[in-house]
Symmetry: C2
């Protein structure tokens, strides 16, 4: 499994993914699930993926190979808007499924899902979630975070604490806590966490950070939250039983 | 959907269920998912159920009708141990599935799952989780809580804070917070919450309490936890981004 999270903020986007892939409990590997396509001053498109690894890797590889080649069917550099870019991802994804889907069926599910976030010059930053069917929805101030993969364990903290006017640093903190909750409850999600804070109009992915389990910044947040939560739970009054 | 939780403690058991049933978003009803079978000084058997409501109601109804009738295949009063009682529940459940399963298939899934907790004189209190196949596992000090239905949203708080030596009041508090987290994140789980604190060797279900959303005890816990969590999240240091 996998957990990927995208948060839409006035300041920009917070995008995060874990690194575990598994095909059974004895086939576990560390992979990167966050890919960036950037042209300075013009575009930053991040693609986060969950689902069948062969499928999602093929999609990213085809998009990489086509980058700058000018073929509008596959080249994210020619997309006029992020909506168009999401459609390009969908087309490539559906082509991979058409090629591999039937062959994979006897062994499992070939489908994948994606978060597509970023900005293309001429429009604001945007965030999309693509379903296994290749159709997609867009984040708005009312639907402020989108998740794919193993989404449930990490959702309560976001439902409670994320606001549209949250700062990017606060949202990044909530994202790290959301990943920590998921990792504690589910073996199929594991560090390192790739976390990209995209500041609007920067058209750059220079704020991409890899959080290993031992990262002191993440450990400080994890410990402060965990200790604080234990103290809080003690202080909350017990019910009368 | 449904959420049912059973916690196994040295002091006894904490058993809780929500009350929402839905077959599509416009067929929502309030039902009781916690049934008790008691004989003073001899046995208290609680049955919590999730899944197809027609199936789980049929199982409870058959067990009620058979109660005290002396048929060892269906009468929980004749079960010598809680393990035997769980097998009786499985037999009745499988009979219901055999009768209805094929007829239901065109419309959906007829299966259900159960928590069976309580005590029969002569042995300690015990807690079982029955899968849709009718087989079951038992809680131990190492597998201290069991969940059925919509289990994921409410799991992180239990993974973090529940200990085998937790007091019953503390565990009941965690259960109420676990239900609150689930209710906030998922429309298919809703109050009232039925919460039974079974004290070992009491063979009684007199500590069964129904928590409506407006219940002052639950509201106090919910508000103290929610306010405390917001303050905690502010106090946890932001990551460097």
């Amino acid at each position: 499994m996998t957990y990927c999270l995208g948060i839409f903020l006035p300041e920009g986007l917070v995008l995060a993914s874990d690194s575990r892939t598994n095909a059974g409990v004895d086939q576990i590997a560390v992979v990167r699930k966050l890919a960036c396509f950037t042209t300075p001053q013009d575009r930053m498109i991040a693609l986060l993926s969950a689902g069948n690894l062969a499928t999602t890797q093929a999609v990213v590889t085809i998009l990489r190979q086509a980058w700058g080649q000018g073929d509008p069917a596959q080249d994210l550099q020619t997309a006029r808007t992020l909506f168009d870019a999401a459609n390009t991802v969908a087309d490539v994804y559906r082509a991979v499924l058409a090629r591999d889907g039937e062959h994979v069926k006897p062994y499992g599910d070939a489908s994948g899902s994606f978060l597509i976030g970023g900005q293309i010059a001429g429009e604001p930053h945007r965030l999309f979630q693509m379903y296994p069917a290749g159709n997609f929805i867009e984040a708005t101030p009312r639907t402020q975070f989108l998740q794919i993969g193993e989404t449930k364990y990490g959702k309560p903290i976001l439902d409670r604490a994320l606001r549209f006017d949250s700062s990017m640093a606060h949202a990044a903190k909530l994202a790290l806590i959301s990943f920590d909750a998921t990792i504690r409850s589910n073996l199929s999600v594991a560090p390192p966490i790739d976390l990209l804070c995209y500041r609007k109009d920067s058209f750059a992915n220079d704020r991409l950070k890899k959080y290993k389990k031992s990262d002191p910044d993440w450990a400080r947040i994890r410990d402060a939250y965990s200790d604080g939560l234990m103290a809080l739970l003690k202080s909350v009054p017990d019910p009368e039983i």
